[in-house]
Subunit: 322 residues, 5 copies
């Protein structure tokens, strides 16, 4: 389904128009045309290729999902692939939704097979920022990309909170299952990083060379997106570093618990074996064992068992082995 | 065995022709000649050297297999070495098949000692794409290299699935043997990476400088191959990162299991030693042990043993040591 | 709250003046105006934007705290974000306080929501260095940034001392809790590094290109700041390396202690079991066991128990298992 | 000992000549002079310095062995240091033999204190390749360096085979001593890498800039050496990566064995303690223990011991603890 | 204390002269003046600043010790900070002594608060090399820096020998305390690296750009220093790599020993428990136990105990568990 909006940057008027009129509208350089293609059919792709003259390779990239995030320069337009991320479902699994952008001199085409929140946001903000219409299609691209990038930050906050929880699970009441959660967060960070870093690198080179499509004044906006991308990438790296420390802490605490368990085993064995030894001694069948004849021999034996047991217990408690 | 196909880019006609005619065909710049040399003999190499004037060093590289993937510039042609990869045999071992490409202005020579799937694919696609014949031999090279590179992706999917299996083997019902599989996948990723990254780096430099052999319009196709190579390399790196996390998880879960085993050992020892202690006590030979005279002393002793055993068991179960 | 100070670089006179006069003062290029905005209100931001014509994006960055440290070039001014760090509270938690600096040709605007020590220091030094007033607003920026950066060093000394303590806790009387402290220092270094390295990288590029705002003579001062930043960053990296060695040492010593514990367990078990065996032997009910009839059989048995126990103890002590 | 060979590139004639004639021969640019100095005396160095005018610093580098591999540009000649490697002695220790090369426009001086295999090889090949004499001294240098570099590959094959052995020792019948072999191979790879990578880096820069000494046509040969160096360096890195995986595998398998041992300990303890408990019970001295009076009480007790023992054994075998 | 030496590069005459004459001597470009300031007072710094016109920032760096090694370019001179290293005291602790060098066109000023060995060495060599006086102050700087750098090598040899000792302590008769020595060497390498790498990096950039102060012919000497710096840095990195392998080996051997200990524990427990079981059986009180009546029952029991014990011992010895 293709939704088309056209902004006349002179009159500042927004018009939604049928897809068929795009050709006419594009002729007037004052017009900025945004065609949003949701859940595209094979037919839609052919229309796009014909109407805007997109290179077969970029159309193909659009069709085959699971591209890496990138910004490619074709004759007369930029082809941008990026991913909107969110945590979804009962297990907070990371969901990545692909968004393809064709950015031309006075038009922008967005293609996506799943609903993209950033499209709504950019639509709303575009209307609010109509006073900056002179920045052209570049501004609209900025609004879109910035919405996508800004959505990464709350997501990283969620992951950061989870890592605080993990810390509690390790240093507080140790939970061996924490390893599974560590592993899950690690994978999510890995996938997020893969989504963000190529984009950051591409923006880096993009902003350093001559820009025929982005106007001079629009440049500062893309600088801003780049800055946010660096921030997101830095935060991901910091979280990864912290997670690896968390992993180390997990292993150490797990090792300490093992030491504790072994100490307990040694202690319990020592106490029980010592007490049993006394019972063993009075179980010997010597003819001449004076204690056996004593009236309170039995009580004496039991008391000495208790005495040895309590004594060892107290000693081991004192040296922190129990 | 040399198979020769010639495409006249004006008439769009494909002709297969005897190897002997290559010289004549090459003279006409409209002709694009593809000579595929399968399982080359020493004689074939001499013919190639003579016919195309290839430098002795590149011929030698062709002869000695096990070169690293590379793109080398010689006077008048490019010499490209790359590897087709697949998982073969009952153990899904990684198999790498070398493909040497000589790319000249209007000819392409492929040399390989084992059958290469990409040669078939490129052959088929070349005929389908005959309308783009004006791109010359470069397009043909693109089709070949792209087929090779695209074949890496399903292979990575297989490895990715294996890693999901590994995860199940670790977090589900722990299998110590998983380490061997982790090790195998690690080695396969290592070899794959060694096959892909040099190629990616070479394409990177290739695309950034002046290209006398690739025509301007063909450039975008090689950009596409480069993009795929980055995607493959990125995926390999991600899988490597995930595998190292899997390894960490393996070690942690293995350590947790050790903790569990030690706890069990401690628990079982404690219970059995405690119960044995009671038996030891009533095995003492004191003359005055009132319980020994009781009619139900024996039953009492057995019951207290059971009581101590069950009590300890319940306690240890509760604190999660059993 | 806006505090404004103006230095006339010709007369070397300092005047504090109402915020409303800034426009007039800025006209005279001899004047250097410093407006310090503490705990800014929404109104203050609007005033700043209007008075100095700051770009909306930089104002927005100012409003939303938690930017990454950076130096951005806008038309006519630089926008600098950096963080003052200190250890605060009973647990010596790392506290980062954001400082935003707008550096124009002859003015400097500082914005911060929490009190910044460096503002005091720079204020004091500016008056002392009034003889170098010809360096303009750049010198003032240098004083501010240098104060912030120099404050990192004592903080790193504190962390370094803590690591010496950790070393004692590991190699001296091993404390398993040390892991928690290691983890805390690791996180603090991580956050510090994130505060310092982006700034260092930005200064690196800043100093290597043409500087229209920093005058030639001021350049050497920023070189000095850069040098300090490298030193701080190097020290952080060294501390990180040392902390990771400390972590390794912790794990090794922890493992050695485990070995020691296991040796003790083995030793204690061996001694007690051996002694109990003797008791078990003389607890057998054979009709013909000559020792049982001996008058000193019991004493003999006890003595042999002591003998075996002491002998094993001495042996195990000798081979360092106890 | 100085051995001198001279090739006249016009007449393609090889002459061995006394060291004293070098000056005369060098005057004719057609002549290519190779002076090989084996086991040089202090006098030889002085002669070289005087005859060829080598810079004191390069002579000094020649004298003091244990330089790092390098290519240095001096006025009128290149000074090259590289190492021939082989595995020698009963323990296959890595042996590095230094080779110093002075490469001038039409002469080549090699200095080495131990016999170098590559000198023999280059000598032989130079005579075979006399038809390419127009490449001058550069070709001779190529032959020498290429012989040295090519000798690394079989050596790496040996190390690779050793690593396969190690794998068998880990996954087959685990041998704890494998760690020592892992350590040895690691050290050898480390030293090899140190021998190869500086050379690779130097060739990289060498080939990218203007080459007054290497003629245009010779360039492609050095490109070939560089390619081999990359291959060797890549292989070393791959082996290092694999060795670190091997190390991980070693640790994991070692840990798994520990788990197995602990399980056995628990199992054996459980069985023996349970059986002993039965003996303990019937060792109690109660007056009323009906079993004691039974005629087959003893047999019954023994049978129940066997029953408990076998039952536990079967159970533990089933759950894979024994 | 300021010591001044002056070399007239025409007459090759060395003169020591009072500090007050420096101004006069410097005027003649033929003179090369070296002022060595040992243990400088506040007054000395002021004199230097006045006499040579050093920038306040470089004087300040000189005053505050603990700078990082660096080479800074000021107007008319270079400011160089480097560290002389040695192992001192009974524990062979690493000692770093700071040396500040001001290198001008025809003068060199060295400032250090502790005695520097390289100052002696350079002084001696300068006189020996007076025939190369035309290289000016640069040669003197070379002699100084080279002496400092060359002193790193024997120090690294000491560390390398210590690491061989460590290897013996790990693979020979394992000493758990080795970890502390590993940790110490690691820290020393860390500090050494921090002393060498910044210098190497600075020389790298220094040698690649235009050098107004170093004359063309002097350049080759600094190239030589740079080469030595790379060698030192490479050696440090190699030692670090080897140390980390040593650490891995330590952990592995420590783990193997744990396995051995656990096996022994299991073995000893098994033997003692089995023997005790026999005693337990004959301690049962059944009325009908034929063995108890046998005349040699006791001996039989003892023999069977010995038999079981020896049999198990032999078996466990055979399977390498004891």
């Amino acid at each position: 389904m293709i939704t088309t909006v056209c902004l006349n940057s002179a009159s500042k008027r927004f018009d939604s128009c049928p897809a068929a009129d795009i050709s006419d509208l594009r002729v007037d350089e004052q017009n900025i045309v945004w065609a949003d293609v949701a859940d595209p059919t094979s037919r839609d792709f052919e229309d796009l290729a014909e109407e805007f003259g997109f290179h077969p390779l970029s159309i193909e990239d659009c069709r085959n999902e699971h591209q890496r995030p990138k910004v490619e320069e074709y004759e007369g337009y930029y082809f941008i692939v990026l991913y909107e991320a969110s945590l979804a479902g009962p297990t907070d699994a990371l969901e990545l939704r692909e968004l393809n952008i064709f950015l031309g001199p006075n038009y922008l085409v967005t293609v996506h097979s799943r609903p993209i929140r950033a499209v709504e946001t950019a639509n709303r903000l575009w209307r609010e920022w109509s006073d900056r219409a002179e920045h052209g299609a570049g501004l609209l691209a900025y609004l879109l990309i910035d919405s996508v990038v800004d959505d990464y930050l709350p997501l990283l906050d969620v992951l950061s909170e989870r890592m605080d929880d993990l810390e509690d699970q390790i240093f507080g009441d140790f939970k061996p299952e924490a390893i599974q959660e560590i592993f899950r967060v690690k994978k999510q960070l890995l996938f997020l990083r893969r989504t963000v870093t190529p984009l950051r690198d591409v923006f880096n080179t993009l902003l350093r060379r001559e820009q025929p499509v982005f106007r001079r004044e629009t440049h500062v906006y893309f600088q801003d997106v780049y800055d946010h991308l660096i921030r997101v990438a830095d935060t991901i790296d910091t979280l990864r570093d912290m997670l690896s420390s968390t992993m180390d802490a997990y292993l150490s605490v797990s090792g300490n618990r093992m030491n504790m368990i072994m100490k307990r085993l040694t202690s319990v064995s020592t106490i029980l074996m010592s007490v049993t030894l006394i019972a063993g001694i009075y179980g010997m069948n010597f003819d001449f064992m004076p204690e056996l004849k004593w009236e309170f021999g039995y009580v004496f034996a039991l008391l000495s068992m208790v005495g040895v047991g309590v004594g060892l217990y107290a000693y081991l408690k004192k040296v922190n082995w129990l």
